[in-house]
Subunit: 195 residues, 2 copies
Amino acid sequence: MQMLKDKIIKEGQVLSESVLKVDSFLNHQIDPPLMQAVGKEFAERFKEAGITKILSIESSGIAPAMMAGLVLEVPVIFARKRKSLTLVDHLYTASVYSFTKNETNDISVSKDFLKQEDTVLIIDDFLANGQAVLGLLDIIKQADANLAGVGIVIEKGFQKGGQLIREQGIRVESLANIASLKNGQVEFVEEARTE
Amino acid sequence: MQMLKDKIIKEGQVLSESVLKVDSFLNHQIDPPLMQAVGKEFAERFKEAGITKILSIESSGIAPAMMAGLVLEVPVIFARKRKSLTLVDHLYTASVYSFTKNETNDISVSKDFLKQEDTVLIIDDFLANGQAVLGLLDIIKQADANLAGVGIVIEKGFQKGGQLIREQGIRVESLANIASLKNGQVEFVEEARTE
């Protein structure tokens, strides 16, 4: 998605060979028109998938997920993160390890909002090691719901998450896929897809 | 805002005389068309205020704030919550006590995104004791930015937050203002405003 890539080149800060900071439009400050374009693009890519719910995770997944939900006309659920869950009654839960923060959080979704008859699109801001998405997949499995696929705003293609998920036969659509952050430069994976 | 009140009556769960659970459309599952209507209503009410930034707080403030930002065509910042901040370099920070959770979190906003020349609209999901809004006001003061006012999706008018903030001369616009949750019933404050 060219508009997103342009924004990454213009405003993204390469902090190391593995860390890209996009606090100015996605992770702290949000650019609403960009999020709207991102939502439309996800909706376009998954419009034939029969989606009934979008599942995301707090906090940075909420904006792109909601914009996709608005176009697809389906509710959006955001999984909650907690250091540890004491009350798990009526919740689907999974543990998610964050390599960035070196901590494990429990994530949870109420059983009220995810049902067996749902077809779910997962949307998240970043895909790096894939731990958050694996946790969300686990929750969808617990609910015995159908999975349409995974929509990611920015994939770090040089980390293993995308491969881990795609090799399970799951469709992953990344709107920007980064091949490398070496030498302080953002390089994108070449796309076969014409946009 | 009638659409919002109707939704509260239909789907809100009164858990006690002070707790209203709206997990089906605001705090866990999000209803995108309702959030769009909420965003438009905030934008309408504050359209003459010269707003340049919207400031909210993760996680449940993000959806309504982003929708207002889309209509007002301004960026949205969400303050981050942390148990305690170790690295406060280049951050505005404030402490926020949560009566619901009986814990104090530090909230923070990067100095990159809030400037003296900004005119800021605060948007949050709930106003009860007002602690989160007071923290956000503190941050705006630290940035020496202008305040346009506060937009709240659901105010619990029987708690002290609204009064605390309004008596500072600050404009607070609540889209639904709850007078009482007694006897398991939601009663709204009568509004002079015609909608």
